[in-house]
């Protein structure tokens, strides 16, 4: 009787493996610009002489040393990334900026980095994909950049920069924010020349984040938001250390382009991710507390309760027509609901009760409200006729995809979604074998058809939240 395990080991162990270390060093040096495995060329390198291996190893040391220095440089860097699958004119020739895993940069090529299975987001960088151009890394520093936001006129990009020191190290689960030590993130406003960064940081605002769960781990709707006129940014700060989410408090602040700050709501007991939203006229900001939705004016008047709720609110979003959508927090044990709140009467109307976290998104004209359901499908509620359409699961190359809502194109013709192939990431391909599907941003028609795959399929996109994606031209809705 053959013991399969024993026999396989016995037979394989009879062959002495070669010592490949010198060749590995040479290959690493020679392949410094390559992103994917290429065994065709590797076969030619098999006979690399030892002197070349040593020389290459020295070159590798110099190269990696330079990369380390570059990585430590906190100044703005612009790194071209190779061309994605294809990008067409989704947003009328506009641009999409998104925050993604910096370590996944090489994966943002037209090849999926199959080997990369992530357990936490590495420090994130900001990329931009624009009609007809390769995806580019717009901001890349040692810090954790999230929440890119195009100004309404497209002249500026704001983003949050969270220091790397708030992480636990390359191999550990992120520990940010450091529980015992408050730290400052930065709200950076950068000028753009076209979609190219000018290298000029127009404004850098320190943002204390003593307990930054909502902002750093899953920014959702807690990201900084431009006022409709593009002259102010609203953002959250958490200057007082709070050891637990339940005792978390946040300030809602506004800063003008010349750096004048205003606290519009101080020490607010913050619900879930401290969502907030500008009113269409830019005079008021609505925000969630654990007891409901509040409104703060920029004129200095005291915040007032817009709508009291026994359920914990999650995300609040104001349409350009003045309707206020409020979802229930995913931390509420009774489940999630989506409601439209009458800001004058304080009453609410239920839209749906099967909801994906952080998902309501208004069309630019405020006529439709898209939201993700917890079955990973998207529903679109028409506010004019009261109907709701459940979009079919989109398919790419015959593969059914799960999706979550990211936003609308400026013309209201397309939905921007994050898509992945559900729980079954390994899918059969027509030529035989299997292929792994990662995550990409897609453009959908309002009927649910896939119009375009906007980014390469990449693991680097698996951690992005709705606040990590922005489009220009910027939808004018709330």
């Amino acid at each position: 009787m053959i013991d399969l395990k024993h026999e396989i080991k016995r037979e394989l162990n009879q062959i002495d493996p070669p010592d490949l270390w010198a060749r590995i060093q040479a290959d690493a040096a020679n392949d410094a610009d390559a992103d994917v495995v290429d065994l065709t060329t590797a076969a030619h390198r098999r006979r690399t002489p030892l002197w070349l291996a040593v020389a290459a190893a020295i070159a590798l040391l110099a190269l990696v040393g330079a990369l380390v220095l570059l990585h430590d440089d906190k100044s703005l860097q612009t790194t071209p990334v190779t061309k994605p699958d294809h990008v067409d004119d989704l947003v009328d020739g506009g641009s999409i900026a998104f925050a993604a895993d910096a370590g996944g940069g090489p994966a943002l090529t037209d090849k999926v980095d199959y080997q990369r299975v992530e357990t936490d987001p590495a420090p994130m960088d900001i990329y931009v994909t624009r009609a007809g151009e390769p995806t580019r890394r717009l901001v890349s520093t040692a810090a954790h950049e999230r929440c890119p936001a195009f100004a309404p006129d497209g002249d500026r990009l704001a983003y949050l920069s969270v220091p790397e020191t708030s992480r636990g190290g390359p191999d550990s689960y992120p520990t940010f924010p450091t529980p015992s030590e408050p730290f400052d993130a930065s709200l950076v406003i950068m000028r753009l020349d076209g979609m190219a960064p000018t290298g000029e940081h127009e404004l850098v605002v320190p943002v204390p984040l003593s307990y930054g769960y909502g902002v750093t781990r899953n920014p959702g709707y807690a990201c900084p938001q431009w006022s409709p006129d593009g002259q102010r940014l609203a953002y959250l700060a958490q200057p007082v250390f709070s050891p637990t989410p339940s005792s978390n408090v946040a300030d809602l602040r506004v800063v003008t382009l010349d750096g004048q700050e205003q606290v519009v709501s101080a020490g607010t007991p913050a619900a879930y991710n401290s969502s907030f939203t500008w009113s269409p006229d830019g005079e008021t900001i609505a925000y969630v507390r654990t007891d409901g939705v509040w409104a703060a004016g920029l004129d200095g008047r005291r915040p007032s309760l817009l709508w009291h709720s026994d359920r914990t609110p999650g995300v609040v979003s104001w349409s350009s027509r003045g309707e206020l959508a409020v979802s229930t927090s995913p931390e509420d044990p009774a489940g999630q609901e989506l409601q439209i709140v009458d800001v004058d009467g304080g009453k609410a109307a239920l839209v749906d009760s099967i909801l994906q976290a952080g998902s309501p998104s208004w069309s630019p004209d405020g006529s439709r409200l898209a939201y993700g359901r917890d079955d990973h499908r998207i529903a679109v509620s028409d506010r004019d006729d009261g109907s709701t359409v459940l979009l079919p699961s989109p398919r790419v190359d015959g593969i059914s995809l799960a999706i979550s809502t990211m936003g609308w194109s400026a013309d209201g013709e397309h939905l921007l979604v994050r898509a992945w192939s559900g729980s079954n990431l390994a899918v059969p391909v027509p030529t035989g074998g299997f292929e792994l599907r990662a995550v990409a941003l897609l453009a959908l028609s309002t009927e649910g058809d896939v119009v375009d795959v906007l980014t390469p399929w990449s693991w680097a996109l698996d951690w992005i939240a709705s606040g990590d994606v922005t489009t220009y031209p910027t939808p004018s809705g709330g």
């Binding site: 399969l4 493996p17 495995v37 191999d171």
Partner: protein, 155 residues
Amino acid sequence: MMRVTEIQGEVEALYRCEGARLWSAVRGYSGDRGIADDAVAEAFAQLLRRGSEVRNPAAWVWTTAFRAAARELQQRRTTVPDPPDGAYDPAMSDWRVLTAVAKLSDRQRAAVVLHYYADRPAAEVAELLGTTTAAVNVHLFRARKHLRDLLGDDL
């Protein structure tokens, strides 16, 4: 921030610890010494370039090496004619079990080598191959059945 020498040192230590076993596993999977050389060298070279960017280097090099070997096998099938039966690798023709393993499908062979040679449980094999534990168990079940057909009741 990791220093260059630390990265080099850690990758070399990993290679000294895992390289031989990985090479044998890839050879068992591919049946070809050249593919094993290329795949293992490529995996560690990539690791050296990526440095601290890779959070679980030990698992990563296994996945990368098997992916590289799979790609090369696929490429060879499309560029060169299939070898005649029994000519899979002359050096292996003396080994009864490995010769039988060579007749399995790619996925079955990968599952068998990783499970029986590298002692990886099905869940880990699934992670390395980017598939589900259930799929790996199916591959192993079918592989054993196929091997039993090839090796007779000895198995």
